[in-house]
């Protein structure tokens, strides 16, 4: 997009206005001058004609007097009378002739009008008429008058000057007026163009502001960043001499758990929080250095561009940002404990293009978020893994569309015999380049993305579909699906499950929902509510990874679940470590008292299985029985069990043919 600067616009507008105004002034002047010229000519000539008439009448009266004195039948003018008559006439009158009884007498005769047709015609027809004509650059007025009562005719020809005078007036006054008009016009054009340009610039600036600034926070937006970077690098390329010394830092700042606040408190609160944080950031950065740019990059991501910043200063600013954003924010009478993760990339060592810098700062930011570091400065060698996760993040949508996510199934067996009673569905990503990816690589990415609900629905759909397939083959297995606490926020989740179950005609008890509850994420009331609805459908429920993380006894007490899954960390060492054993025993007792069935996860050896059975654990799951299998192998395994009655699965390898 070629951008027109204000200066270009102003200059273009100005010259156009100037030319238009001058053109207009010329047209008006021409009209004005021609009208004034004609007017003064007409006025002058009519005056001259009038004067001629006057003289003609005078002449006629004199001649009549002479004739009456003469009283002769034929009139002959003597020299004295002729001189007397000539004295009446102006010098400008160059021709004076009269006819008395068709006898012609010439008082004055000039060659200029000798051959004029109109005059000859008038004389010949003896009709009164008059007019102007030009001869040899002299403008003449003639008047032929016939007086029938006296049988007398009179011709007068006169030189006129009205035209010359008109021209001289025009030259003098009108050209001065035109000159002054031009001058005024140019003033007007300049002034008016300045006025219009100013208005134009104002609205242009406003539009530009709107296009490059975020409405919510008032900070510059992503478009601004790209333009800024473009201008910056452009200037850098021009001033090659300073290029080597140029250093700047690019920060990416991401609010931690913003999604949770948005989900639980509503978007209005989320927006207010963003406003507060951005105001804080902006204040801090502007105080630090006026030239620091704070940009709202998107959602809850901010970019800070700090020029002339070396590593040490960059670190200092990052620390300040983290510290500032950690201060609690009061909104709606709540104190919000916020925190941010900051990734920093430096020009030129971490990238010479904006994209590269943003990507690397992003990687550093994710590292900071993952390890709760506050901020992290990009280090090239440390981040290959993060780079992978960022690249996966971009491919998530496509993967969902292409159905690259497949389910593997790990059996849950009844203790002590090892009969398969159900399976847990575990998702794998069949990545076209990276191969088969396990959830620990991508589940965080999914949870942080906008696809978390879509993803879970897809998994649930797959599980129910598989359940139907097995039911068609007379295999009755319950499939357990893990959902993320984020999914509890999906208002349509329960409806979706219900609809899918009905659509595939699968009894609800064949579906089990496993939830790794996390106290920090969702309120227990919300979890209870969703669980209640699921239970209403007839779906089985279980708490995953019990005993670790945020699980509290209150959860076990208050959530009405069917199964409790004992975390693998207790099972791994239970044979050797008395403490683990003690924990497991007390968990089992607790579950027994609460009337909940127990499933031990991560069983890998025969000793563990035996011991769990002795302690009274109901079910077990782990590599000792089977690793997660793709659905066809799982089907074979089940069929083998069905045929071979109660087959105890042992060891990792699948010996089923």
């Amino acid at each position: 997009m070629k951008e027109m600067t204000n200066v270009d616009l102003a200059a273009g507008l100005r010259s156009r206005l100037l030319y238009t105004s001058i053109g207009l002034a010329i047209v008006v002047s021409i009209i004005f001058i021609s009208v004034a010229f004609n007017l003064s000519t007409d006025l002058g000539e009519s005056l001259e004609a009038e004067h001629s008439h006057y003289q003609r009448d005078q002449l006629k009266n004199h001649i009549k007097n002479l004739v009456s004195k003469n009283k002769k039948s034929s009139f002959i003018l003597n020299e004295n009378d002729k001189t007397a008559l000539l004295t009446i006439l102006d010098e400008d009158i160059i021709g004076a002739e009269f006819w008395f009884d068709l006898q012609r007498t010439q008082l004055k005769k000039h060659a200029l009008y000798a051959q004029n047709n109109e005059i000859s015609q008038a004389i010949k027809t003896n009709e009164s008429s008059e007019g102007f004509f030009e001869k040899e650059d002299v403008r003449l007025f003639w008047s032929y008058q016939y007086y029938p009562t006296d049988n007398f005719s009179l011709l007068i020809v006169r030189k006129t000057y009205a035209l010359d005078q008109a021209i001289s007036y025009v030259v003098n006054r009108l050209s001065i007026t035109a000159f002054l008009t031009f001058w005024l016009t140019i003033w007007f054009a300049l002034f008016f163009s300045a006025l219009v340009t100013k208005r134009f610039e104002e609205s242009n600036d406003r539009l530009k502001y709107l296009a490059t600034h975020d409405v919510l926070t008032g900070l510059p937006n992503r478009t601004f960043l790209y333009q800024y970077a473009l201008a910056f690098f452009h200037a850098l390329n021009i001033k090659v001499s300073t290029k080597k010394q140029t250093k700047f830092a690019l920060y990416i700042i991401d609010l931690d758990k913003f999604k949770d606040i948005n989900d639980t408190m509503g978007h209005l609160v989320g927006d207010e929080l963003l406003k507060a944080i951005s105001a804080r950031l902006n204040k801090l950065c502007k105080e630090y250095d006026k030239n620091v740019q704070v940009i709202r990059y998107g959602g809850d991501e901010f970019v800070v561009w700090s020029e002339k910043t070396n590593e040490e200063q960059g670190r200092e600013l990052a620390e300040k940002i983290v510290a500032t954003c950690r201060k609690p924010i009061e909104l709606n009478h709540y104190q919000f404990e916020t925190s941010v993760s900051v990734g920093v990339a430096f020009y030129p060592q971490d990238g010479v293009k904006l994209d590269e810098l943003i990507k690397n700062a992003d990687i550093a930011m994710y590292q900071a978020k993952k390890h709760r570091l506050g901020f992290q400065i990009f280090q090239r060698d440390l981040f290959t893994q993060s780079e992978q996760s960022i690249s996966l993040r971009g491919q998530l949508n496509a993967a969902l569309q292409q159905k690259e996510f497949v389910l593997f199934y790990q059996p849950k067996v009844k203790l002590p015999h090892g009969n398969i009673v159900g399976v847990e569905a575990l998702v794998r990503w069949k990545h076209p380049k990276e191969g088969l990816l396990t959830p620990n690589v991508f589940i965080d990415i999914v949870e942080q993305s906008m696809f978390v609900h879509e993803f879970t629905r897809y998994i649930i759909h797959q599980a129910i579909f598989q359940c139907r397939t097995w039911l068609n083959n007379n295999i009755k297995l319950r499939i357990a699906v893990n959902i993320s606490p984020y999914n509890l926020m999906d208002p349509e989740l329960v409806t979706y499950i219900d609809q899918q179950l009905k659509e595939h005609d699968v009894p609800a008890e064949y579906l089990e929902i496993e939830l790794t509850e996390n106290a920090s994420m969702v309120s227990i009331e919300k979890t209870q509510e969703v669980f209640q609805q699921l239970r209403g459908l007839g779906v089985k429920l279980s708490i995953d990874d019990f005993g670790t993380g945020m699980s509290s006894l209150a959860y076990v007490k208050q959530l009405n679940v069917d199964y409790i899954k004992i975390d693998r960390s207790f099972v791994t060492d239970m044979v050797n470590d008395k403490r683990d054993e003690a924990v497991i025993i007390s968990m089992l007792v607790l579950c027994q008292k609460l009337n909940k069935l127990t499933i031990a996860e991560g069983v890998e050896t025969a000793e563990q299985a035996e011991k769990l059975a002795i302690l009274g654990c109901d079910y077990a799951q782990g590599y000792y029985f089977s690793k997660p299998l793709p659905c066809d192998e799982m089907t074979k395994l089940i069929e083998h069990q069905e045929v071979g009655k109660s087959v105890v699965i042992s060891q990792n390898t699948i010996a089923v043919k």
């Binding site: 100005r14 003098n172 001065i176 007026t177 002054l180 001058w183 300049l190 300045a194």
Partner: protein
Amino acid sequence: MFTIKKNLCALDRVVRCVITITLFLYAFLAAEQIGDAFLQIAIIVFATINLVSVLTGWCVVYRMANISTCKVK
């Protein structure tokens, strides 16, 4: 609002100076040829405005139109 800051370059001032002198001479010496008191006064007014801009190096119309023939710093 209108700060007085020079906005005429040397050439501009010389041109304006010549115009001013011509106008004054014309207005006073060729009064008969002009033959109109109003026009004469108009010319004198214009010449005076020009004279002010020549002396101060600042033109009010330029200022309003945001033009400057001074070299950009």
